[in-house]
């Protein structure tokens, strides 16, 4: 079965007023979603991308330009990625529909990984 990369886009937000209870509830929702996938054998892995730092690299040779970014003030960043196993885009979309990320205002980019062998 092909692998799909889920790129979780989100708006950087200020969570300083969020209660510990609410934080726990958010975590519980994501964990329930990923654990269901894991039980079905459809979860390959997930990785959080660091909010701080990041570089954009441009140019070539003597023209190399490394700039900082994306910034915390950016309109949108990729918060993290999941890799899942799905029969096709239809299933990948179905799986992603349940991801709490959408409920919390983010959006998900779904890309099929080209098999190389």
């Amino acid at each position: 079965m092909p692998n799909y990369l889920l790129l979780l886009h989100e708006k950087p937000s200020d969570f300083s007023g969020l209660s510990p209870d609410a934080i726990q509830a958010v975590i519980a929702e994501y964990v329930a979603w990923s654990q269901k996938l894991a039980v079905q054998g459809k979860l390959i892995g997930g990785q959080k991308l660091r909010d701080e730092g990041g570089k954009h690299l441009n140019g070539f040779g003597s023209e190399f330009r490394a700039t900082d970014g994306p910034f915390a003030e950016a309109k949108e960043v990729i918060g993290g990625i999941f890799t899942i196993d799905a029969a096709g885009y239809d299933e990948a979309v179905e799986i992603s529909k349940d991801c709490p990320h959408l409920k919390y205002g983010g959006w998900i980019e779904i890309r099929e990984v080209e098999p190389t062998h």
Binding site: F15, L18, A28, K48, G80
Partner: protein, 417 residues
Amino acid sequence: MSAEDQVRDSIDHLFRHRAGQMVSVLVRKFGVTNIELIEDAVQDAMISAMKTWPYSGPPINQTAWLIQTAKNRAIDHLRRSAKSESIDGYDFEIRKELRDETRFESELTEDQIRMIFACCNPSIPADSRVALTLKIVGGFSVGEIARAYLAKDDAIAKMLTRAKQKLRTLDLEFPAGAELNERLDSVLRVLYLMFNEGYSASEGSDLIRRDLCEEAVRLTRILLGHPLTSLPAVHALAALFMFQSARFATRTDAAGDLLLLADQDRSQWDRGMLAGGLDHFRMAASGSELTDYHIEAEIASLHALAPDYCSTNWERIIAGYDTLLARRFSPVVALNRLVAVGEFRGGEAALVELSALASNYMMTSFNLFHVTRAHFLAKLGRYGESIASYARAAELTKNDAVLRFIRRKIEMLESYE
């Protein structure tokens, strides 16, 4: 129930409790002068968990992860605020502490008790102590406290800021000797008020109010977990809380309207909670000191143990209220006593005693005075007078749940006339 409430109802408040624990531990390490910085660090650690754990899954030892992260954040904050002179000394051995779990748990209990004592310190303004305790030890957010008190977030935030200014100046040593008793009085009073705030009927989110009751019970249990504060008065308070908590779900009907004790479904009372209340009540009897909490717990136990309303031991309940009133007059206690008098000696007797209280403005400006009067008048078939008393009570009532209750009574009585 809102969607948010449903989510909240399904979780065990682990993070909320952890927040209070982390603040307590970090205050021991970094000092109470840094309380706000510590709160920020703890919040940062929680948010960091929220951002990371969805992808990686929660770590095996969540507590260790959270405390370590909060500690690192606190050190970052300290460095940034240029108070860095002794930071290296702060880089304490939390990993080692966490490895010794038993020791960590017992230190955690002590840290939290020290923090409870600080938040309930008599030098903190009395009206801020409950909110401060909820925020610092309870892990409640400003928004949650505001919802529980039906207040604006800003008002609570300001109150907490002022209270924390005072908190920063306090000595957090565990009180000892005669001071312990005095300080414990203040703590128990705060827990009592916290519980009552949650238990009293009110509009707004019922769940957050229930959380206040649970928090009061949890903090009482923490006190009972330490030899120095595991005292009869604390057991008495725990007994009172548990007897009251057992009835929590039956105080309102399906529509959220108030139900009087006589109308509550006793089969729905939480038996486990009642048994726990009795255990604490027994342990409360071990000392020589008789506190108000002992007497209130006894009254609550008499209600809890009666198989039905009619077989309640009113005589002993009246005696309990007499003792309480002899110690300190309180309009609420006086009215509760009269309800018992009415059941035991009849409505006429209760009305005579009520009239005696009517010269006291504190009583007549209190809506429950008129509700109580109306109640007995209705029982005696004096419906017109009863309606007038309920109407007077309604004028003095701001609380919507109570107002609905009064209006229902008036409607019912009008149909009798």
